[in-house]
Amino acid sequence: MAISKVVFGSDTLIDLTSDTVSADSLLSGYTAHSADGSEISGGVEFVTYYTGSSTPSSSTGSDGDIYLKVVS
């Protein structure tokens, strides 16, 4: 059972109950614990876009990325 709050005596050592992180707000590749103490894995994927006034270099970006050539 996941633990979301730890109280020792009168001291609260850890309290996740007010946390708002969720899988759909966390970047993919990262983990965290939600308000109920369970571990979650980030599911947010980003496509990176680049801008420039010339044609893109082959060394720029990775598959799925976008390059926007703007009017110079």
Partner: protein
């Protein structure tokens, strides 16, 4: 509400020998008048004589007026005749009586004759100066002169003039609107605004007495789609390449200029032909253009036309591919002439980079004074041909139409260093290579997260 009396200003007699009028000015009065003009009829009994009162000034009523009622009236009586005489008034357009009107014959007592007709005000006023009151004059017997006395005639018109409204319309960006600027309308008028965009983005605003009324415009019809924008592009620069280039350096230029006539003739002076090319740059033609014509105008002349050896020729080439006929300077003659070299195989935009004007030197040569090449192209676009909006003018309303948004189907902007910059091309990396996207609107999609690199 206003009431106005339109009265005649002139008369016409069908016969000036046997019909006459005295005190004519008394006819040009309304039916309240107590002074009369007299029409004397001394001719045999006939119904073909008449007097015609006309010249009602319809312009006295404001053009914006809404006429609620009108009445045509004549005040007259006859005298000195027997009861078998006949003076009957009609309404007339020109010399023709209008059907559908009922009236009664003029009697021996002065009275006001009111015309009851099926005509509306627009019809009557539309006759203008041709409209009148025609009174047929038929005396009783051959031996008795008869008289008709006319106190006046009038058209009594009741109307209202709506409040004038100033509607001002304008367009920013490309395109035209009609009407534009400030125009006067009246309550109840239908204001029609036609917008003809010439590009993908423009904004139209309209105000009534200073109040924005654009949101009240009602779209009725958007015309077809304008699909092309034509452009003709002249080469930007050029340079010589090839074994014969040194002969021609500085002679072929951007522009056909016969004044630059060369006194020298250029030939290979050998049986071995030399070839040089004139490279051209058309880099500013959009990549999505469709080329409809490529041609060059070349001015020059041949050294001679009497020899059978080879002469200088010019031809359009795309790389090693011939895309035009080869023109032999021998066929041009020895006088400066501008010839048109027409591409019979149209290159694509990307192929323009390898297009050259190729000159082949023969044993006999010629002089080239100048050359200019052109590319005629079309760029597909998509925006409505025109919009028509209507708006019923009333007291307090407003309008504002924005053309854009959905029309800007091929324009993408990205904010760079705080300013929006138009995107000319977009690429997506696929299997390690950047692939240009033909549809900018499909590059980004909802539900996908993006971040700057």
């Amino acid at each position: 509400m206003a009431t106005i009396r339109l009265i005649p200003s002139t008369y016409y007699l069908s016969n000036s020998s046997y019909l006459s009028v005295s005190n004519a000015s008394n006819m040009y009065d309304d039916t309240d008048s107590t002074s009369y003009a007299t029409v004397t009829n001394s001719r045999n009994s006939t119904s073909s004589y008449y007097i015609y009162l006309r010249g009602f000034n319809f312009d006295d009523i404001p053009s914006s007026a809404v006429v609620s009622s009108f009445t045509v009236m004549l005040k007259a009586y006859e005298s000195g005749v027997s009861t078998s005489s006949s003076y009957v008034p009609y309404l007339a357009n020109g010399t023709s009586t209008l059907s559908g009107c009922s009236t009664t014959a003029i009697t021996t007592s002065a009275s006001v004759h009111t015309f009851s007709c099926s005509y509306d005000w627009e019809t009557i006023s539309g006759y203008g100066d041709s409209f009148g009151i025609r009174i047929n004059c038929r005396r009783a017997s051959r031996n008795t002169t008869s008289y008709m006395h006319i106190y006046g005639a009038e058209i009594e018109v009741t109307y209202t003039v709506p409040n004038p409204r100033t509607i001002t319309s304008s367009i920013s960006g490309d395109g035209t609107i009609s009407p534009s600027g400030a125009n006067t309308y009246y309550d109840g008028d239908e204001y029609t605004l036609t917008i003809t965009p010439t590009d993908t983005s423009s904004t139209v605003t309209a105000t009534q007495d200073g109040t924005d009324i654009t949101s009240s415009l009602v779209a009725h019809y958007a015309g077809g789609t304008v699909s092309t924008v034509l452009g003709t592009y002249t080469l930007e620069s050029g340079s010589f390449n090839g074994s014969g280039a040194s002969y021609f350096s500085g002679i072929v230029g951007n522009g056909v200029d016969a004044s630059q006539t060369s006194s020298n003739y250029y030939s290979s002076s050998s049986s071995t032909q030399a070839v040089f090319t004139y490279d051209m740059s058309f880099s500013n033609i959009p990549s999505n253009a469709t080329i409809s014509r490529v041609y060059c105008e070349v001015n020059g002349h041949a050294e001679s036309t009497s020899n059978s050896n080879e002469y200088m020729c010019v031809q359009l080439m795309s790389g090693s591919t011939e895309i035009s006929e080869q023109i032999n300077f021998k066929d041009i003659g020895t006088s400066n002439t501008t010839i048109t070299l027409e591409a019979t195989t149209l290159p694509t935009v990307s192929q323009l980079a390898s297009m050259v004007l190729e000159c082949t030197l023969g044993y006999y040569g010629g002089a080239i004074n100048g050359a200019t090449c052109y590319v005629v192209y079309e760029v597909a676009s998509s925006y409505p041909e025109y919009y028509t909006y209507t708006y019923t003018v009333s007291s307090d309303s407003t309008i504002a139409v924005t053309i854009g948004g959905s029309m800007e189907t091929d324009t993408l902007y990205v904010k760079v260093n705080g300013s929006w910059v138009e995107v000319s091309k977009a690429y997506v990396k696929v299997s390690g290579s950047w692939v240009e996207q033909s549809d900018l609107t499909a590059v980004f999609s909802a539900g996908t997260n993006y971040r700057g690199g």
